[in-house]
């Protein structure tokens, strides 16, 4: 980290130019819309035990697309990703342990 930092100074300044076009954003929004529609569809169509895993996967995909494209994590400094992911992982782990201690999973 220490040596790369000074190098970043120059290149991060002009990262704005390779941002995607509006068309790309619209494509992603379409994709997000379709996934949301699929999510909503699970409410009406019974897919049995696969329901929760499928919902979770779709949620994570949506989350990932918004964070990486709309929030520019793909193109921006990795430091941002680090902070966000640190918060996410910390929150997920701590609160999963928290729910486990409350025996949430066996309660359903």
């Amino acid at each position: 980290m220490n040596t790369s930092e000074t190098a970043v100074t120059t290149e991060a300044a002009h990262d704005d130019h390779d941002h995607p076009s509006d068309a790309k954003y619209i494509q992603i929004a379409l994709l997000l819309g379709i996934i949301t529609a699929a999510e909503v569809a699970t409410y009406f169509v019974d897919i049995g035990v696969a329901l929760i895993p499928v919902l979770m996967i779709m949620m994570v995909v949506k989350f990932f697309y918004v964070a990486s494209w709309f929030m520019h994590l793909r193109f921006d400094s990795p430091l941002f990703t680090k902070f966000f992911v640190a918060g996410l992982i910390l929150a997920t782990t701590v609160y999963l342990v928290f729910l486990t201690v409350f025996e949430f999973w066996s309660k359903g």
Binding site: M1, N2, T3, E5, T6, L79, A86, G87, L90, T93, V94, V97, F98, T100, V101, F102, E103
Partner: protein, 645 residues
Amino acid sequence: MTDTAVETTRPIGVYTRPKGGGGWRDWVTTVDHKKIGILYGATALVFFVVGGCEALLIRLQLATPNGTILGADTYNQVFTMHGVTMIFLAAMPLAAAFGNYLIPLQIGARDVAFPRLNALSFWVFLAGAIFLNLSWVLGGAPDGGWFGYAPNSGIIYSPSVGMDFYAIGLQITGIASLVSAINLTVTILNMRAPGMTLFKMPVFTWMMLVVQLLLVFAMPVIAVALFLLIFSRQFGANFFNTEMGADPLLWQHLFWIFGHPEVYILILPSFGIISEVIPTFSRKPIFGYEFMVFSGIAIGFMGWGVWAHHMFASGIGPLSVAAFSLSTMFIAVPTGVKILNWLATMWGGKIKFTAAMLFAVGVISMFTIGGLSGVTHAMSPADTQQTDTYYVVAHFHYVIFGGIIFGLFSGFYFWWPKVFGHMLSEKLGKINFWVMLVGFNMTFGPMHTLGLQGMSRRIDTYSPGFGFELWNMVASIGSFIIATSVLIFVINVIVSAVKAKGQPHCGPDPWDARSLEWMTPNPTPEHNFDEVPVVESLDEFWHRKYGTDEEGRIVRVATAEEVCQDGSATGVHLPSPSYWPLVFSAGLPLVGLGLIFSLWLTIPGGIMMVGSLFAWVFEPVDDPDGPHGHHDDSEETATEEAPVV
């Protein structure tokens, strides 16, 4: 300025920025990290004394059986406020004082990343502190313990407004901590002098970085817990209402998910301070710098996985107890690494026992005692026996007082010349240390015995005949000895200041120190560095003073006067002061009082806050009439703050 306003872009709501003009106006509008650091320190010391007086009241009440100094109700209020005051209004802001003053200096910066937000942090903290203490006269102080366990903190068991003040007051100080944490994180990551990579930062700055990250992630958790409490008390929410199936353990979990990182938020600044003091007075570089840093990070990281060890007796189930018992034992490892590294730094060094060094050594020894009694808590069967007894009180005072307060005093003696330009009396300082050491051990040592004898915590009195009389009396006497030592410190401050009046400032490098902050003259000039130094190594300042001769021996190559800057630079561009942090902060307690007493009060409070936020955003970057008001656009965007924070 009217002539230039013919541009196409009309500024909205441009306020002129205050010009200071000396005296108190300088202080209330300042955005200088050094002044804010001093404000933090002075305020925190006042609250340290307030919390100390509360402790003395507790000890007076408990000195003899069937004490009658305080009633049961008052006793509850006093011990609750003692804990709240010492942790949130004394220890945390004292760490913030050191952090504010020293971090920019140690990394070679002119100020923090967001100077106005920095001022905001202080004023919000002060507003919260005053708000909390207003409860004494507005219907009774909080009485549910600093941990505020549900359902004790609920309206049924604590019907006075005290716990409302607790919940809202801590929420306010929490805002201050969060803002300050974001600010200092950005400062450390973004504003280091050229060449200062992360692994050339002083250990103190490193530890403060870990602390800020802990704050960033821990404050929202307590914020949620406090919101749940506020909603339960104010609006009848059912978060802790067992009749409806709620689980009061929810509070304990949220509180300690925050609370355990908080323990490290409190102790790591002190570890950082003594990591600067010990190498300086051992005349050796810190032993195992990387290990120091990584163990600090490890402590910060592992601090998130041990919270339930505060709850072994709450019935969280055998599996949870076993898991948290294990993780708690593991966290002793990085702490042990630190202690060994300090010892190794001292080993073979030419140790100079100045007052600062004595306090630092005090930390190592006293904290170790506290750490060892902590390991006995990690073993859950033993802990079940010790829970809610004075053994626990003894343990955490050894780590908090022995670890934190001793460390902070070490910092006072070490950096006093840096801040005020004169030394504190070493003689009085050493007396201060020894009196404090004796008083401290006399107060808290016997509590181990009392606890193992079965004396409960938080009881307002006890009957004679249980064998508690002797050690309680000893502890009470000890507490007054501690008070004496604090008094000696105050006398030292006054006497030294009087003596220094009219005298020239002390030299630039009174301790033959190692890190960058000593490259500025004492006291630090307003602009910090005349020229931002280019850093080549850890302990840059020391390396500029010393080199090696042809036989590899370390020799002095330059005097401090040659290396230090003289503070003579003029015309350095500095951020202008601002009114708005103060106005914003003044709105917060109004909103708080409004929530408790009358919602009408939230209107002026809210208008003050929203108005000052927007005024803040529209405020010009500089005082337009000031000497350095002119500058180009590129810089405006660089220093302008986003309207979002």
